[in-house]
């Protein structure tokens, strides 16, 4: 492994943050600048949204099931089993739905973006695109950012719903709770601010997933080994950033609400 001086490490880190900020700002600015790549955006929305649906549904379902099983055990000791719906609903909508959906989409799509763009980078396809008069940030990055942000919003809603259904399955079939009681308590615990919090998070996380995936893809160096390295780093950094931003965002939204 190459040893670098602390000064070089800091210099490289600052440069990486600068390049990431540049890519992120450009991807946003390009939304309002021609040409618009609508077909590419729809294609990416299909790949990211529809393609991620099975894993998001499965993750949401099992999370709801596990939440109901775990909370029921604790609630039973207090004689409050009827509150299972409340806990599943509150946890899924505010926290687990957005975060777990984002982590699933990160594993599937941030890696996909980094490897696809990374392969294009090392085979000079990105340079070829620039040489042919096309801005790769507009054609490749912006459609991915728009579609990830857009689809994360809907994928999280689906994940939340499926998680609630998973909780209901356990509550109804294993714990013997009444269906109406479960859904009523699940609905009543949620306030407007909880729903808003649960829907702001996936939008921010979607932006992180797409920009981190594209950043590592567009800065890939070192052939196929470099593509592998970029893919791994995209997933790691995207996951870490999602969890870190989640902590900040949760506190911020709690204060605001």
């Amino acid at each position: 492994m190459e040893l670098i001086s602390p000064f070089d490490f800091v210099k490289r880190s600052v440069l990486a943050v600068q390049e990431y900020a540049y890519l992120s700002l450009h991807s946003l600015a390009n939304i309002f600048r021609k040409p618009f790549y609508m077909a590419d955006t729809i294609q990416q929305a299909d790949l990211i949204g529809v393609g991620s649906l099975p894993i998001v549904v499965l993750t949401g379902m099992f999370t709801g099931i596990v939440l109901a099983l775990n909370t029921a055990k604790t609630l039973e000791s207090f004689g409050s089993l009827s509150m299972t719906g409340r806990l599943v609903s509150f946890s899924m909508v505010r926290e687990l739905g957005p975060v777990l959906t984002s982590l699933m989409v990160t594993g599937r799509n941030a890696s996909g973006m980094a490897s696809e763009l990374g392969s294009m980078k090392v085979t000079e396809q990105i340079d070829a695109m620039r040489a042919l008069g096309t801005d790769p940030y507009k054609k490749l990055v912006t459609p991915r950012v728009i579609s990830t942000v857009f689809m994360m919003f809907f994928l999280t809603i689906i994940s939340d719903l499926v998680g609630l259904v998973g909780g209901w399955i356990i509550s109804f079939f294993m714990l013997g709770l009444d269906s109406t009681q479960y859904w009523n308590s699940a609905y009543q615990i949620l306030h407007y601010s909880d729903v808003v919090t649960g829907l702001i998070k996936p939008v921010v996380f979607g932006f992180i997933i797409a920009t981190i995936g594209c950043y590592f893809g567009m800065t890939t160096k070192g052939g196929t080994q470099g593509v592998g390295r970029s893919t791994t780093e995209a997933v790691v950094w995207s996951s870490v950033l999602i969890l870190a931003v989640d902590a900040v965002l949760t506190q911020l939204l709690l204060v605001l609400s």
Binding site: Q125, A128, M129, R130, L132, G133, D135
Partner: protein
């Protein structure tokens, strides 16, 4: 293409003859990582209609020159004028317009592997939203030039190395650029396929009079271009045998450790006494 603000008039500077010169490099230097410059004060000119063969060992900065010509890289110092524009001061947005007049054939073709041959060749036209019939017509013309019409629906992965290089040429010439840049167009190809590619470059030079910079480490490709002309009647190249009627303007430039150590014609290259160059061409 809309006029660019930094377009210079040929009368602005008497030393900058942009009417007769397609590309001008003035003391261009560039470093990547470390302090060793990849190019160190390189100056040269490419006259309109001329083909310049850039020779040099691996790592001497040949491909960097082509990327600088397109503005894909920015020099650390010096000026680069392409078709009358000082590209060192242009923004990426302005460069996108200028690049429609400059075509490039990359070393490994750099075809978009998710697009078929038609879409690869038509990429620039589709970005300009030209009518579909016009795009189809020009794609077929371009593929016909490189004799590859039959492969129109194939994907790059289904093509041989030589075919990929020919598709790269078709993609570069579809907008009829004023300057063509070839980055080792025959690298890694067998001798017969290499000859086919050189014949296509010669055809582009002699039929369309396009200015070109060709980077190569194969000396024989350069000499073939300098000593042959394309005969439209037989559709093959023929030796010029010093015939004055054949307007072959092919010149050579040799790079060594980032510096241009020779510039001249094939005849001058053969007469040179410099030991390094003599060893290089022997």
């Amino acid at each position: 293409m809309p006029p660019l603000d930094n377009a210079i008039s040929p009368f602005d500077d008497e030393n900058l003859d942009t009417v007769h010169k397609a590309i001008i490099f003035e003391n261009v230097s560039i470093c990547f990582e470390g302090d060793t410059p990849v190019l160190d004060g390189v100056s040269f000119e490419l006259r309109r209609g001329e083909t310049k063969i850039i020779l040099g060992v691996a790592g001497s900065g040949k491909s960097t020159i082509l990327k600088l010509c397109l503005g894909l890289l920015k020099p650390d110092s010096g000026q680069i004028y392409v078709l009358g524009h000082d590209i060192t001061t242009m923004t990426e947005e302005e460069l996108f317009d200028l690049r429609s007049k400059v075509g490039i054939v990359f070393q490994e073709s750099a075809l978009f592997d998710s697009l078929n041959v038609r879409d690869n060749v038509a990429f620039r036209l589709m970005e300009e939203h030209l009518p579909e019939a016009e795009v189809e017509k020009r794609v077929r013309e371009s593929l016909s030039f490189v004799e590859l019409e039959a492969a129109i629906d194939k994907f790059p992965a289904e093509l041989s190395g030589g075919m990929r290089r020919r598709v790269g040429i078709a993609r570069a010439i579809i907008t009829q650029p004023e300057v063509l840049l070839y980055d080792s167009p025959t690298g890694g190809l067998d001798p017969i396929t290499s000859t086919t590619i050189i014949e296509l470059i010669m055809k582009q030079r002699d039929v369309f009079k396009t200015s070109a910079l060709m980077v190569t480490h194969r000396l024989q490709d350069g000499f073939t271009l300098a000593t042959h002309y394309f005969d439209p009647a037989t559709k093959h190249m023929k030796p010029s045998d010093g015939m004055p009627s054949q307007d072959i303007r092919t010149r050579f430039m040799i790079l060594r450790e980032g510096k241009a150590v020779f510039e001249g014609s094939a005849h001058e290259l053969g007469q040179v006494q410099d030991p390094y160059i003599k060893e290089y061409i022997s």
